[in-house]
């Protein structure tokens, strides 16, 4: 019944399945909205945060979402600035994922502040020395860029495209996309970096504190680099997930492998930088403040040395090498494992840079403090995930996200033979699509 909206040349699952998927994701979304409203109306006492954990799950979610959304700016940079043509086949999806991640981050920031109605003070009464100000400005600006990048895609909807104004607008926007991509890359450099700076400048927190260049601590650069390295991993991983759920090949292997290869090199270079940073921090910065580096991993198993090993080796060197090395990169299983490890690695890094910072005592007589989120925090963190799933469901159904899809999945004129085949394929895809709504949430989280 919505066939008129579905792009030409592709096939989509029956409406009821689509609606069912929407309903499931919508239920999670609703749960999150209830929690969000509770937080807004009753205050942050709905969380398990406290005066030692002023930053907790939400800030981590912000940092992680933005790192994972980094695929958008980096792919854009590669596509429009470095002119890597092949990537046009995945850039739409990268933009969509970026859009979801950034809008989610903004929403969570709006929930995370004690006085939401004063949130605009960060712009109006900005303290330009604060990394958070930099984050807010660049994040908002870049989100605007993402909107501009996403808009032409929306306008490419079959029906919207019929409106000449929209058609022309979309076309013209495509023309100027390089400008936006450049702007986006520039802004991303600063907000990804300033998110790293958020922790790195805390000279009262030796676990987070890093030296650096001028006002920018090393984490500034590490965060930008890691977002560029791991963001595409997330884009590729979600693309793979989408392919699995729809049961269709959506992006050609050469495109995927190209981006994966670039990500691999980025990861490896990042890990090298990360190792240098960690060693310098552990041997110079921390000791100069009176801390042996092992102290930060000494109190409980959650914040043990396994974190360093996991971050650097398991989720750094391993996926980096898997993606650089041709045979493993071309092997879908190995590649997906690498991508997944990358996604986990960057999420873990962001977790550590927020929550472990809060856990470690600084005054010699203070205590380690651990924290677990309240259900309201979890629900509001899943809210954007559900929202992301919904936006992907809708966008995939009605917008030509994957330019290669019609080519890879031709809809042949009906014959009994291929008709049955197509239906079977479609059904298999549809089934997994409905099932996967539930799966997508934990995967995204």
């Amino acid at each position: 019944m919505d066939s008129a909206l579905i792009p030409e040349g592709v096939k989509r699952c029956p409406t009821w399945k689509f609606l069912l998927a929407l309903a499931i994701a919508g239920a999670v979304l609703l749960w999150g909205v209830v929690a969000m409203l509770m937080v807004w109306f009753k205050g942050l006492n709905q969380t398990n945060m406290n005066d030692y954990y002023g930053f907790a799950l939400w800030i981590w979610a912000d940092l992680a979402f933005i790192a994972l959304g980094g695929g958008a700016f980096f792919t854009g940079l590669l596509r429009y600035i470095f002119g890597i043509k092949e990537l046009k086949n995945i850039i739409n999806y990268a933009v969509l994922i970026g859009f979801i991640c950034y809008s989610s981050a903004l929403l969570i920031l709006a929930i995370d502040i004690g006085q939401p109605l004063r949130g605009w003070f960060i712009f109006w009464h900005a303290n330009v020395h604060s990394m958070l100000t930099e984050v807010a400005f660049c994040l908002s600006c870049y989100f605007a860029v993402l909107c501009i990048e996403y808009l032409p895609l929306v306008l490419e909807n079959r029906q919207l495209d019929k409106v000449p104004f929209f058609h022309n607008l979309s076309h013209n926007m495509h023309e100027t996309m390089a400008v936006f991509a450049a702007t986006g890359a520039f802004l991303s450099f600063f907000h990804q970096g300033s998110l790293g700076g958020v922790a790195g400048v805390l000279f009262g927190r030796p676990f987070a504190f890093r030296t650096g260049i001028n006002i920018w601590p090393w984490t500034f650069f590490l965060f930008t680099w890691s977002a560029a390295a791991y963001g595409p991993c997330f884009t590729l991983f979600i693309t793979w997930l989408t392919e699995k759920i729809t049961g269709k090949k959506l992006v050609k292997d050469n495109v995927v492998e190209l981006l994966a290869k670039i990500a691999g090199w980025m990861i490896i270079t990042y890990v090298v930088a990360k190792i240098i940073d960690t060693v310098y921090w552990a041997t110079v910065t921390a000791p100069s403040l009176g801390f042996k580096w092992t102290f930060f991993y000494s109190d409980n198993p959650l914040y043990g040395k396994w974190i360093l090993l996991t971050e650097i080796v398991l989720c750094g060197i391993v996926p980096g090498l898997l993606l650089i090395f041709g045979p493993t990169r071309r092997n879908p299983a190995a590649r997906v494992i690498a991508l997944l490890l990358g996604v986990l690695g960057v999420s873990l890094n962001r977790w550590v840079m927020v929550l472990q910072v809060m856990a470690v005592p600084v005054m010699s007589f203070d205590k380690w403090v651990l924290y677990y989120p309240s259900w309201q925090e979890v629900a509001t963190t899943l809210l954007p995930v559900a929202y992301g799933v919904i936006l992907i469901l809708i966008s995939y159904r009605y917008l030509p996200i994957f330019p290669q899809e019609p080519e890879l999945n031709p809809i042949a004129p009906y014959t009994p033979a291929n008709g049955a085949e197509a239906t079977a394929g479609g059904q298999a895809g549809d089934e997994s699509e409905t099932e996967a709504v539930g799966q997508a949430a934990p995967a995204g989280a």
Binding site: G43, L44, N45, M49, N50, D51, Y52, Y53, G54, F55, D112, I113, G114, Q115, P116, R118, G119, F121, I122, H125, A126, N127, H129, S130, M131, L132, T133, A136, V198, V201, L202, F203, G204, R205, P206, F209, T211, T285, P287, S288, L289, G290, F291, K292, V357, M358, V362, M363, S364, F365, D366, V369
Partner: protein, 277 residues
């Protein structure tokens, strides 16, 4: 003429707490709460959710009975100057300029109506001197009568902290203006905790003023962030370079050592004051 000259001599208000005199009685905590309209809840035993601008930490030397020893460390906001005057851990990170550092007094301010509750300053403060209003403050019926009009009660969702009882400075300045003065006498501006301390363990005044007792006790090296020259005086987390204006005095070595972090085998010494930038 003299008045003209001294008019803009910046102050550096600070505090010295004699930990050997401090008895851990808690008067400073309550004096602060009473002076500054600090709210309270039915259960305040979770100290991670308990607003105490002045918090008295109890520390121990960790030795077994009967060699064990304890000491109390009252901890107000340390009013850090940072590596360069005003680069306090918290002031530098506040995105909305809700917390500020005054060159005239050296006091780190917190404006509750400006704060929008991002809590970045709390993450930045190694002393945990900043507190968030997780709940709306509620005074039992009738108790709101004792609230001090010189300090605005905070609303839910903002950060608060010790202000060195700045309202008392404002009041003292008012009187000085009326009397045609610009400068305050040492005893005209004292914090509520200093005034209340039954042991007289807290001394407050202008570290820049050699006549003030704080200056005499600390003998601050003002060229190096106010580092104490008196060997019995120390600051909390000196090595972080926060340059606090709250000093502690103790004759006990283990207490002084507890004020900072040291590598295994490292001994507290003068050259520990390393700048990291």
């Amino acid at each position: 003429m003299k008045q003209e000259q001294t008019q803009h001599r910046p102050k550096r208000y600070g505090m010295v707490i004699d930990l050997d005199k401090c008895t851990g009685c808690g008067s400073c905590m309550v004096a602060c709460m009473a002076e500054n309209n600090v709210s309270f809840k039915k259960d305040e035993s979770d100290k991670l959710l308990s607003i105490t601008w002045m918090r008295v930490y109890k520390i121990t030397n960790g030795k077994p009975f009967p060699d064990t020893d304890i000491c109390y460390i009252p901890r107000p906001c340390q009013h850090c100057a940072g590596q360069h005057e005003g680069h306090s851990p918290c002031v530098s990170v506040c995105p909305a300029t809700a917390t500020d550092y005054s060159r005239e007094t050296g006091i780190v301010s917190q404006i509750y109506t400006r704060c929008f509750g991002c809590r970045y300053c709390m993450a930045a403060c190694p002393y945990h001197a900043r507190y968030f209003n997780w709940w709306d403050p509620v005074w039992p019926d009738g108790m709101e009568k004792y609230l001090n009009p010189d300090v605005s009660p905070r609303m839910r969702g903002v950060v608060e902290k010790c202000s060195f009882c700045f309202q008392r400075y404002q009041a003292a300045k008012n009187k000085a203006y009326l009397e045609g003065r610009r400068e305050l006498e040492e005893d005209e501006y004292q914090t509520a905790c200093t005034q209340a301390c039954p042991a007289g363990a807290i001394v407050f005044g202008d570290l820049n003023n050699p006549d003030h007792l704080v200056h005499k006790m600390v003998d601050p090296d003002l060229k190096h962030g106010g580092r104490p020259r008196n060997p019995e005086v120390f600051r909390l987390l000196e090595r972080l370079g926060t340059n606090p204006k709250v000093y502690y005095k103790s004759g006990r070595q283990w207490v002084r050592k507890a004020g900072d972090n040291y590598l295994p085998g490292e001994k507290p010494g003068a050259d520990m004051h390393k700048s990291h930038s």
